[in-house]
Amino acid sequence: MNGMTFPFLFTWICSNTLSMFVSQATLNAKYLTIKRYIIYLLVVILGATINAFFPQTTYIFIFINTITMGILTKRIIMCTTLALIGYIISVVYNYVALTIFEYFTGFNQMTIISNIKLQWLFYLFFFPTLYLLLKLISFIIDKLPKPHKSEYKPLGFALMSFLIICSFILIFNITYEYIKGFPKDIMSANLKLFLLFLLMISIVLFIIIVFVYKDARTNIALKEMEHLEKYTSELEEMYSTLRGFKHDYNNVLCSLKYYIDNKQYDELDTYYKKDIMPLINSLQENNFSIEQLSNIRFTPLKSILYFKMLEATQNQIKTTLEVKWPIDEINIKAIDLTRILGIFIDNAIDANTSIQDISKRYLNISCISSGQKKVIIINNPSVEETINLSSIQKIGVSSKGINRGYGLPNIYSILKKYDNVLMQTTYIEGCFTQTLEILD
């Protein structure tokens, strides 16, 4: 802007800084600390000052600000996307606000741009309303259902690249037309066209996101169905072995009667110890107390427990389940419960498989419905003599050595969402116990 006076320059820098700051920081407010705010503000002021003298640097200016936001918050995808959304909204809203301002004050755009006092008056109206608008949008974003991290990464990438392209086209369009000195009506028509395009693409993108989200849900439901089918077939198998036993049982009683009739008590004694005892034991050992599962009426819990216990028995781990009272419902999102228990039991299986002596492997699970809460306890042996309990929550360190048990930090990030769930860990005499308490 050659030939610009100081007040104009000052206004330019101020408005540029403010619009950047408000549009990008408001949506990211919850990830920013005071220190981060200050650093970001400094970067923006520096950028805006350079930009005031070299208008061609607008692109670089926006790019650097957006990336700074991502780096500062350490959530590059999430925060740069939010920053870009904020920026596009502010550009669009700038146009809307200018129209409104024109309508109420009766000044035309050119007058406003050339008059500093009017410009400041406009900004006095523009920035507070922009801030409120962004706060509202941030509130709405918070209320949206959050998909899973794994589902959400590619989506985040797609959304971000789309937004980057859009914002650059928008900025290019405006600056190019401005520099070339296009007539105002063509500029506004162009802008309207572009906004229409943006709106349509957004709707398409939104529909795609909804579909991906639904698809993920259906996949989970399908998996659950699969587990339940396996469970049913297992039950059927158990029933048939039980029927087989009933048949054996009659034979056993007949032979017992034979010994008693013939008063062969010594033979009876050996027969009992040799043949009957193993039969009773084998019936007790036979599969992991599957009948206990029938007490769980909360399908996601039943499904994950069944699936994981099957996996444990396949790893030659003696697995038991205790469900004394029926469990109808648990006050936690099914998907979160499934993830937490999946991690707990995976860790327990890992700890077991590193024990060479198969007779020392065990996995005990108990689901308790007591008073106002549900409690799930998972109990397994551990190889190491002592465990630093406080280090197991840190990434990469677990009771099973480095590089395993990555799941525990994930559990923490899930638990943050709930105020009715607590996790307890105990380690006594080689026995490791995880307890999850969920208030109704």
Binding site: M277, Q284, T320, E322, K324, N364, I365, S366, I368, S370, G371, Q372, K373, V375, I377, N379, N388, L389, S390, S391, I392, Y412, L415, K416, D419, N420, L422, M423, Q424, T425, T426, Y427, I428, T435, E437, L439
Partner: protein, 249 residues
Amino acid sequence: MINIYICEDDSNQLQHLNQTIEHIISTKKYPMSVECYSTSPSIILDTLTSNPNKNIGLYFLDIDLNADIDGFDLAMKIRELDPRGFIVFVTTHSELLHLTFEYLIEPLGYIIKDSSLDIHNQIEKCMSNAATKYQILNKNSGKQVISFSTFGTEYIFEPMSLIYITVSCIPHTLEICSDDKLIQCRGTINSTVKQLPDFFLQISRDTIINVFSVVEYDKNANKVVLKNGTEFDVPRRKYNIIKKMQNNK
């Protein structure tokens, strides 16, 4: 003195249990006496509620009682009346719900009614266990304990076994680390620090440590290392306080 209560629905087995227990008391000279034995859980409860002397109890309970409540419910009721009592479940393998019992009742032990196992031996073990615990309990009756409650479940700690208490990354939640436990409970640092003995020191806005668990100072890095390997940042001026507190005892 320990009062013994026995509940078993099969009267033959009840007689057998009672005789075995009486026999063990007389041979081992334990400070115990059989207060009540019955096939009905309600009689046990009535005796317990009407009993004016607050002796600690040792309870042998069958799980399958053929009554309106089972041995487990009976144990829950006994826990309310005699929170420190010793409970022993007499049961078959198939009825045993180890983790569930452990969490809700904390029984002293189990007697497995299995023809292959010697019942007399099991009973004797439980009784000697109860006798030892009873002695320890009497000796420590004056000692202070610290308890934290998590949704109604009480976790009791001996003060020396605590290592640190810190604010969790989960909102409104504290993490309490002891020698063998890491528990989460609702609470604030400020209210917790008040109920702790004087060898606990608040080193920052969100952490309290047991000064006797400090094993290493790193004055240059402003750090302390605790006995389980956990590290905490400590402001420089707190070092001298920690040292002074350690020397005081």
